[in-house]
Symmetry: C2
Subunit: 594 residues, 2 copies
Amino acid sequence: MPVYRSPLRDQQFVIHELLDATAHYRDIPAYAEVDADTINQVLEESGRFCAEVLFPLNAVGDAEGCHYDKANHEVRTPTGFKAAWGQYREAGWNGLGADTAYGGQGLPALMQTAVGEMQNSANQAWAMYPGLSTGAYECLHEHGTPEQKALYLPKLVSGEWTGTMCLTEPHCGTDLGLIKTRAVPRDDGSYAITGTKIFISAGEHDLADNIIHLVLAKLPDAPEGSRGISLFIVPKFVPQADGSVGARNGIFCGGIEHKMGIHGNSTCQMIMEDAVGYLVSEPNKGLNAMFVMMNGARLGVGMQGLGLTEVAYQNAVAYAKDRVQGRALKGAAEPDKPADSILVHPDVRRMLLTARAYAEGGRALGYWTGLQLDVARSHPDEAKRREALAQVGLLTPIVKAFLTDNGFRAAVEGQQVFGGHGFIHETGVEQYVRDARINMIYEGTNGIQALDLLGRKVLRDNGAALRAFGAQIQAFVEAEGTSEAMNEFVTPLADLGDKFTKMTMELGMKAMGNADEVGAAATDYLRVAGHLVFAYLWARMARLALDKQDDPFYAAKLATARFYFARLLPEATAHMRALRAGAKSIDGMDLAWF
Amino acid sequence: MPVYRSPLRDQQFVIHELLDATAHYRDIPAYAEVDADTINQVLEESGRFCAEVLFPLNAVGDAEGCHYDKANHEVRTPTGFKAAWGQYREAGWNGLGADTAYGGQGLPALMQTAVGEMQNSANQAWAMYPGLSTGAYECLHEHGTPEQKALYLPKLVSGEWTGTMCLTEPHCGTDLGLIKTRAVPRDDGSYAITGTKIFISAGEHDLADNIIHLVLAKLPDAPEGSRGISLFIVPKFVPQADGSVGARNGIFCGGIEHKMGIHGNSTCQMIMEDAVGYLVSEPNKGLNAMFVMMNGARLGVGMQGLGLTEVAYQNAVAYAKDRVQGRALKGAAEPDKPADSILVHPDVRRMLLTARAYAEGGRALGYWTGLQLDVARSHPDEAKRREALAQVGLLTPIVKAFLTDNGFRAAVEGQQVFGGHGFIHETGVEQYVRDARINMIYEGTNGIQALDLLGRKVLRDNGAALRAFGAQIQAFVEAEGTSEAMNEFVTPLADLGDKFTKMTMELGMKAMGNADEVGAAATDYLRVAGHLVFAYLWARMARLALDKQDDPFYAAKLATARFYFARLLPEATAHMRALRAGAKSIDGMDLAWF
């Protein structure tokens, strides 16, 4: 049977010791009341809810999947999902990070990030329902008119209604400039929306009374391409002025996808035929409105990667301790028994430590980014907001792609520890591999994240955000440079930092001559960037652990840091070498020869 | 809809140009008649059979899976599987490599290897039925008494009956010394077998009239551990002396597993209650008897990895050409159309070339090993047989682990090319990821392969087999060392060869002090070994291609070789670095801290 316990001790270590989050919150009026006790209480209670309510439904959701009722265009979620949604709403979890003006609890993004990790460890498919709803909430909160906000936000915050993001169409996902969904103005100021959207997560389900779709569409006179996209609210039931649910709107689920994983989430084809829609933001500015919430959404997907990393690790450890087979190579560890637990094998521990180092490093990176998102959104000092926003922008594609790649790898390593037992449904770990796979694809494929990082976040602003990040590393290196105990971490960190800077400058030069150099380098570049950030955070964590080696928590932290530097960081070298080969290593193959 | 065409041109390149197989066969009387025409005809006809008969059943098998009829302990295979089995038998494919004395065609292992690749590209789950049967045939052919051979082999060769290998039990797979299945001698010379086996591929099905299980069990007086294991024939129906099917034996399928992939193959729990069994080989020598056929079986799993690499590549290419979205970074490739095909993006081509380089390199390695297996088994000169057997022994764990790891990576990269469409069943590519996953686990996990390579094949014989392999690389490097055109391949090959030798010696020294050094290094070591073999074979293929650049086949071959050296080979550097950290990078983490 699968196991999950929330990693409370490590969460506290990251939030309080590594990030010292409450010190930051003291400077942010909106969060001045968020003290350590509040944080710990939220972590503990959410951990309990996730482990006790959501986790037992994870295998159920995978086995049952969602059911589409063609006659009524309705979707039934797996057994227990609706009841869990009720408990979730009642406990107030749905409004955790939402504006108190609309009934939310107004807690920081960092807390949403930590809670998100746990929800995804427990049940990613379920967690996507509130996840998408939060995305719609944030978009409307940022871009809705006061009337739209008053009408929709309280219901989205309470969880009476849920939301979706309707972007992809059958012929395009990455290139939204090609969408065909049309919005024709009607006399009453609303629009008639017609078109087909696919891959709409939580597009139709039985959890809530109404579903608020945020739909990208084109006005009749829209410019070509991505400059001609507008955003519309298309509710399943058109709300009355008093907020009660009105007439059924012309937006219907035309079917659900049969997928590799996240079976418990309904992935819908949505068909609109003259559906009533309401413009959000200005005409032709829809893509901008969507992009503003991308940082939060992509951080959320990164937390899906982290959540699966953690739960895959926990299950693999439990199995490795329990499974008794073979003998330690250097002699029986438990000579009285017929065999040793497989934990004695260095190769098994290598797999476990890989997942563990990815989990703890990912937690540090994800939570750090969450904290900077809070500063970017709410700090009273504009310069600090701007600086934090640039850092969030730089880190977001890394969080999304690096943590989801790592999540998939950790799930695969965890499954490998189980041997043949990992391949059958019963043990639950193969689900993690299947679920983890989507995180590398949706919300912008990891290849798109890599282009975003190198092309937009690094090269477009001539490396300004990267230099600001590098300055932090430099400061740390200088502060610890004379510490003999820290040498094993500081030296490779400083070395990678120097190489990364040099490599980035080289790439900038090459890209001026040939834009394909960016595309040819991007994925390798992102992996190196991820390791640079991990090396920095692991070095800082090692620093905190060094003086407390009597406590097993810190002893394990230091051992994991050492494992990371010795066994995982070397991957960066290979990617730097591969990347340097440039576009010509790919262009040598004529398109016609494929 | 998924696509597959057998890679005939590349198969011919490897067999005739790279390996010059028929020149080897001229020295082997058993295969003296195997000329290029024969080989080409087998490749073409098998390719047609795989593409036309097996491939259309692949998605069917995945969707339907096998059905277990509890009342009768019977398993029904997916629609079409039985009919395809009939066509397969009638066309004589089942006896391709089998002894002509028992009705086989007596073709070389190399041909079985090539045919195996295609069968696995087309339908791995189906291909496992004949695959397991071949394993049982080989084991009995090597170890059976003349009477056993006369009774069982003709039926196994014709495909009237099939076979299985029953090793794993619920509590042990890797460590077979722990098995609990018992064999008690009976007065008539047979044995009463009682016990439970799990994960028995093709253990029960509706394809054949009888199933011949080869079962590992312990005699009452057996020594402890792996020295006390014996091998038994346990037929589903006990054959009469005349070869007709007799009484139902006490071996029953107790259930089938619900698995991540290979749904079309029935993975059975087999329960034996005083089942009639017949001893094969000598008492307590069962594991040896099994091990003799391991080279062939593990080469077969490597071909599963290769088969999925190839088909994942082909489907990703088809999609990338067809999918029109976005624009080339360096300007529109097809300005008349609303967007370019995604093949223009360097990152997409990076993914495709990764799969392609793994496929073509894997084909070279797998077929080369198959050819050496023919020499090892059938060459008239004993010294040549011994030498080839040592090379096969060295290459086998690399073929099994490196090609199946690569197969999984290729399937994942291929799926990534599809974006969201790759995550849904309909496009067929997510099945390749799920199917590919088992190849890294069964027939000895890839971690076990790594221990076999480093511990047994390299260190135990003080590197003799490795030196013989290194001498081939050295000869090639010396022959091509002065060629300017070959410099880009020869220099990194020679460099990696030197580093590999040095690293192996270091490891040998360290392992004498601490056996855990082997376990801590093994997986990284195998990945480096795989790249060394690939670099050697890719350099040789580049040599063949260099002078024929007017022909697109050779131009593509050279471009792929360059991609391999520039973008994939650098991975070896990272593994060498990780490996050098040694056991202390893992031992730092106390077992109690996990």
